[in-house]
Amino acid sequence: MNGPVLTLLTAIMAALAGLGVLGVAWPQRGRRSIGYAAAGLAGLGALLAMVALLLNDTPATLALPLGPPGATFRLTLDPLAAFFAVLVFAAGAAIGAFAAATDAPPVAPDVPPGTLALLPACLAGLGLAVLAGDNLARGTGIALAGSAIWAMRTTDHTAGGTTDHTAAASTDRAAGAQLGVTLLAAAAVIAAAGAAPPVVLLAALLGPGALAGMVPLHAWLTPGHNATAPAAAALLSGAVVPVATYAMLRLLLDPIGAAPPGWWGLPLLMLGTASVAVGGLSATRCAELDTALAAGTVRQTGLTAIGLGIALTARASDLPAATAMALGAVLLLAALQATCGTLLPLVAGAIRQGAGTRRLDRLGGLVHRMPITTACLLAGLFGVAALPPGAGFAATWLLFQALLALPRGGGLPSQLLLCALAAVLGLAAALASSGLLRLVGVVCLGRPRTPRAAAADEPSRRARRPLLALATAATVLGVFVGPLLRLLADAPIRALTGTGLEARASLLGLATGAESPGYAALPLASLLVLAAGMVLWLRRLRRVPSGTVGGPAWVDGFAAPPAWLPFGNPATQSAGGGFTPLVMRAKAGPCAVPECLIGRRIRAFAGMTSGATALPRGPVLPRRRPVLPPLRAPAVALIVVAAMLALSAWAGTR
């Protein structure tokens, strides 16, 4: 059955490429039709790939009459390729539908092709990258998709008739960086074919790792989402990042049977840890909505890298259960990226279009004017936050259980690494929920900060449909995580490692073994709904006054703002500051976005200044210093413990 499905998928990719050619040749004609056709074709591709995944037939191969001189592209449809094809095509369908619904007519007759014209070509490239049977075709697919996104971004501001040349130049620079990273990833994938194992690891980290936004090559991603069309940002986040994960899986874990060296997991674990910290902290500091979302992508990539590192370590130690759980987490994170990672940039685009800005300090109170968009933003951020019963929590649970199953020997360094990884999972969970709180709280709740935000508009009904579909998918993925992983991820994991999830994923949820209790997502969600329903029922039964009395906010008894501040005193609402951990400090200046204390120290040491104008300082009041300032005590305790551990380790080696 895989053979005919692969042929049909190839035909769909050819049709998408044809649509791309049509769109580029006649950029003014049938723009929306091209978008909807691309969405339809991508949706059909996702359905076909789902059928192949559920049937779990023997892999099929197809040689294409295409390729560089002396070589031909080969396509393969196996369970892993089918899994990622479902993700990429489904994300593409939603993006296509949203882009077509929000498309604005060109301002001039001779504009270059924009997002809608290049979207089918990008989807064809991503499809080629996923279904490729060799590294040459995979690298070519990645390069094609990246080039299409680059073209989208460089032509969009021209098509929009912008007169802001500084912003246009900035967009061009960011797009250039994105193209460079994409081509680097494509070259790394192609160069890894038949290379020595260390070269393969290096290629995976430098190529697909950078493409997914892994530290240290993550800097391109944040401005990459900035000031660009929502469809291009969603493609980068929801389709390109899962494809990068797929390329890393192919490079590091394929073929079956060849166990990687034990140390291969170490660089991934360390870079993943750094990505979680850098991305998570950035997401709680960024002053713009889409930049904060992009930083969240870096955090999620860090979790994926940690999952891959655990899987490699467990595989080298011949621990199939831990390997399967870690890979289950990786595939779940990829599915989350394809749903929430697509949804969130599209929501950010809808907010930018409806409220006229993406700056947090100019938004607020959107829940009253954009309730559906707010619900979608909440659903997307809840999906990635590690809060039950969301899918992000399920991924964290799987990663933690895989971590517990790792070998405990190896001396003090590996034991410390184990503890550090557990703490990092906790940090990722906290930063994700802090990001949710900050973005939903500042953008959608509270008082509007500007008249434009107070008069924001929901996107059209057609544009809302893909958003609602993605939000529903994210919620369903969290509640039905057990059966979905069993149906969709078991076969790919078995194909990669020889051991599937088996009883670890069941109808009720996830478990560590056949007889072990675990995380039961469905019963937990049912209990939450039941408890909430009981409260509502009791309220009705006791005839508690259901109506409410409206009135001005209490504000601890402070006076109402003067009439010339129609939205209240702006200083009484956070514009995104104050959600960071207390080790961060607020930068002095009109923009109350916190800045890393360490970064300030480094810049001061290097003689650099931030350029921000400091506010005039008031009289310095005498302040009693505490005996032990906050964080000093645990820092001292930690140093003492570290010294004791180092001493004991030194004594042990003597």
């Binding site: 709680t284 607020g364 936050a385 809060l387 039950p388 649970w397 933690f400 517990l404 405990r408 034991q415 184990l418 503890c419 557990a422 703490a423 906790g426 940090l427 969970a429 906290a430 930063l431 929920s433 802090s434 709180l437 900050r438 709280g441 709740l445 509270g446 008082r447 072990s516 209790p517 995380y519 019963p523 937990l524 209990l527 939450l528 408890a531 909430a532 409260v535 509502l536 309220r539 006791r542 006054p545 409410t548 009395v549 409206g550 009135g551 906010a553 209490w554 504000v555 009484t572 609402q573 956070s574 104050g578 959600f579 960071t580 951990p581 207390l582 005590a633 645990p634 305790a637 413990v641």
Partner: protein, 303 residues
């Protein structure tokens, strides 16, 4: 039969937790007052306050959205489910397979985030500041909590609370020093994360009653968690008869009374934890959790 007994035990446990939570909060306030030389309101006063609030019609701020009215229900639901998962007088209740430490941490986080979102919805300075403060403290507390869960998971080979308590009951959580360190870390985390201070200024009527009930449940969940994990004396084994349950109930009452008395005494001696001190307390909890995990790992290697 066993299933019926487990279901009955679960229903009894939930009833006890819901009824007992405000009483325990009242008991703590009464003990604190008595230790400070004041008369103090009797422990049932908390229930009277809740009943009075529940009869009142809520007053909403002009800017409040539908989320503002949904949040107290969601917060209470999360805390009620968390309370249902932490065993009190017996093991092997119907929800025992669901009671995972990570899930428990997640439910506490869920309640915290929902309440903070409602606080931000009001658009007022005190509530917004409190919401941001909660988020920033959580960024330090969650890694510490995960370290403690790692230590307990390494000790017992599972993160299921029911199984861990059963192992502790049989003296199988070795070395005991690691368990003691983890207990101390959990106690510090409970202290540091205490209270929804400032976030509830805009709530009133039945909504405020639900949040106060959820807050009382949160305190009882922490007391129960620490007591059951590290002092499971008298707790009935799965399938124990009526006598075992009676002993378990008496032991649970004694355990809660001792821990609440200890908390009241601590507050009387050291005063309430200042907000500025919370990061330091969480940091110490993290160090204790790290030590506990390293102790378990070192003892496993030595064995």
């Amino acid at each position: 039969m066993t299933f019926l007994l487990a279901t009955f035990a679960q229903a009894l446990h939930i009833t006890l937790m819901l009824v007992g939570a405000p009483v325990v909060a009242g008991l703590q306030r009464w003990t604190e007052a008595r230790l400070a030389g004041r008369t103090g309101a009797d422990p049932w006063q908390a229930w009277r306050d809740l009943a009075r609030l529940a009869r009142k019609q809520p007053v909403l701020a002009e800017n409040a959205s539908p989320l503002f009215r949904t949040a107290p229900i969601a917060c209470f639901a999360a805390m009620a489910v968390a309370a249902a998962l932490v065993p009190s007088f017996t093991l092997g209740m119907a929800f025992a397979p669901l009671s995972d430490l990570l899930v428990l941490a997640g439910l506490l986080g869920f309640a915290r985030v929902v309440l903070a979102l409602a606080a931000l919805d009001a658009g007022t300075a005190p509530a917004g500041l409190a919401a941001g403060r909660t988020a920033s403290i959580a960024c330090l507390a969650e890694p510490a909590m995960f370290l403690v869960i790692l230590a307990l998971g390494l000790l017992g080979g599972t993160t299921n609370l029911d199984l861990l308590i059963g192992q502790q009951h049989q003296g199988m959580l070795q070395p005991p020093a690691a368990a003691a360190l983890a207990a101390a870390a959990l106690a510090l985390l409970a202290l540091a994360g205490a209270g929804s201070a400032g976030q509830t200024t805009e709530f009133s009527g039945g909504d405020l009653a639900l949040i106060e009930l959820a807050e009382a449940l949160r305190m009882l969940v922490w007391v129960d968690l620490i007591g059951a994990l590290f002092l499971p004396l008298g707790m009935a084994a799965p399938g124990a008869g009526l006598l075992g349950w009676v002993v378990g109930l008496a032991a649970w009452g004694a355990r809660v009374a001792v821990l609440v008395g200890g908390l009241a005494a601590l507050r009387c001696i050291a005063g309430r934890l200042r907000l500025g001190r919370a990061p330091a307390v969480v940091g110490i909890a993290a160090v204790l959790g790290l030590l506990a995990a390293l102790l378990v790992l070192a003892s496993a290697v030595a064995a």
